[in-house]
């Protein structure tokens, strides 16, 4: 009989001790979670893309809850609806999100670009770039192993026909691909813009043409024909200033190479 009592006493004792420790611990070591922070965190999409400039949605929610000077419109994947909900929680004025989209500035598709050498090795752009600047004759353009596609959180990038293609309908404008591209081919532009220079080559006209049939030759025809003076040719490559561009499309029709593309952002897919 006493064996049973001892057994019961020991198990009860151990149980009571454990629960006492847990009670004390939860009393003295509670971490107060800001109610606003958890609310905001629930609203944020949770892609952890970093487009807001903070390391993940958790950090952005924390910054929003603790610092009133943090802007509510930084979440690009969440767009206007998220920023509106955040502003109602925080009781501040709502601001629209400037939606952005990533665009490829290269059209060196198979057939247009020349191969410098044949690359066999690790299937990664950054690895291929280490070896004589990549297999293509043009060292400015898309290498085509899809480092950007691997980084894309929403699978908006596909590699086919030799270069990466970004689907503007899926792209959330987070810009993760931009830092992955060893040649810096991808750029994030306002989603309202429709005109894109689809070349990154800074070589002089003849040299650029030898390397790729779709290369910008720096002829400045777009620069002279732009009514709003939004295009400048610097380093043999046309650059569009999106703060001035009004999407008139004069450059597109005047480009002799066809390396300025006019795309509707609802189906930006080239």
């Amino acid at each position: 009989m006493s064996g049973v009592i001892i057994a019961v006493a020991i198990v009860t004792g151990v149980g009571l001790l454990c629960s006492a420790v847990l009670v004390v611990a939860s009393k003295f070591m509670t971490v107060s979670v800001d109610e606003k922070e958890s609310l905001i965190r629930e609203i944020l999409p949770g892609v952890n893309c970093g487009a807001c400039g903070y390391s993940g949605c958790d950090m952005y929610a924390k910054a929003l809850a603790s610092d009133p000077s943090v802007a509510v419109n930084l979440c690009i994947p969440g767009a206007d609806s998220v920023s509106r909900e955040i502003s109602t929680i925080l009781g501040v004025k709502h601001e629209d999100v400037v939606e952005k989209v990533a665009v490829m500035r290269c059209n060196g598709v198979c057939g247009a670009k020349k191969e410098k050498h044949h690359y066999v090795g690790i299937e990664s752009c950054s690895a291929a770039k280490q070896l004589f600047g990549g297999q293509g004759a043009c060292t400015y353009g898309c290498i085509g192993f899809g480092d950007c596609a691997a980084a894309c959180p929403v699978n908006a990038i596909d590699v086919f026909n030799g270069i990466a293609h970004i689907d503007g309908r899926d792209c959330i404008g987070c810009g993760l691909c931009v830092s992955k591209c060893p040649n810096g081919v991808i750029r994030v532009i306002p989603a309202a813009s429709k005109v894109v220079v689809v070349c990154s080559n800074h070589d002089k006209g003849a040299a650029a043409r030898k390397k790729c049939a779709n290369g910008c030759i720096g002829c400045k025809k777009c620069e002279t024909n732009c009514p709003s003076e939004a295009i400048t040719v610097t380093g043999n490559l046309a650059e569009i200033d999106y703060s001035k561009c009004d999407n008139c499309g004069a450059c597109v029709s005047n480009c002799p190479i066809g390396c300025i593309a006019y795309e509707d952002s609802s189906c930006r897919y080239y």
Binding site: I10, V11, V14, G15, V21, A25, M29
Partner: protein
């Protein structure tokens, strides 16, 4: 002394691998092995909890249960202690090391009453190990679990790309792959004793 500890460690990692040879902790093995980083997180958490659990249950066994002849209460007392220990660790981590808590946090509650953790503590007792040997053995078991998780995460990444017949898709092909990986570990039988002799 050192040699015998090394033998205990390597035996726990390779020969008596908890997942692949003793089939304990299959639930996290199948559930969290989908991605490599998650698999590593789970493996590290399990190793950590196994060490903590052994450190706590060994004195309970030696100083509380054995003197009263209550060894038959091992299972229930160990479950009780390990569960509250994991809860306590979670609270402490949340308070003092929030970064570690964020990376381990998802896995800790899952491990609370994991059979691999309980199995390690019970096996240490039944094998009659002393305290140091018990700790080394649980470290080995944890590392073995980590190894199995990492290996299987690699296998599963290949399975994702494979296109098995429809009847095999999903869990059946994963279980088949797990059994083949387990079979490969059977090859370690008898290796360790001869390695150090």
């Amino acid at each position: 002394m050192f040699k015998s500890l090394l033998i205990v460690l390597m035996t726990a990692v390779l020969v008596n691998n908890y997942v692949l040879k003793q089939f304990l902790g299959i639930c996290p093995f199948l559930g969290v092995s989908k991605k490599l980083d998650q698999a590593v997180g789970m493996g590290v958490s399990v190793t950590f909890v196994m060490l903590m659990a052994t450190a706590v249950t060994y004195p309970i066994q030696t100083f509380l249960l054995a003197p009263f002849g209550l060894e038959y209460l091992q299972t229930i007392v160990f479950i009780l202690v390990i569960a509250s220990l994991v809860q306590l660790v979670e609270i402490v981590l949340k308070k003092y090391i929030p970064a570690l808590s964020r990376s381990l946090g998802v896995y800790l509650p899952l491990i609370t009453t994991n059979c691999a953790v309980l199995g390690v503590t019970l096996n240490n007792v039944s094998d009659g190990y002393d305290f140091v040997t018990s700790m080394v053995s649980s470290l080995g078991c944890g590392l073995g679990f980590l190894l199995a998780m990492v290996l299987f995460a690699g296998v599963r990444s290949r399975l994702e790309e494979a296109n098995p017949p429809k009847a095999f898709q999903g869990l059946p092909i994963i279980l088949t792959a797990a059994s083949i990986v387990s079979l490969s570990f059977m090859g370690f039988d008898g290796i360790i004793e001869n390695l150090f002799s």
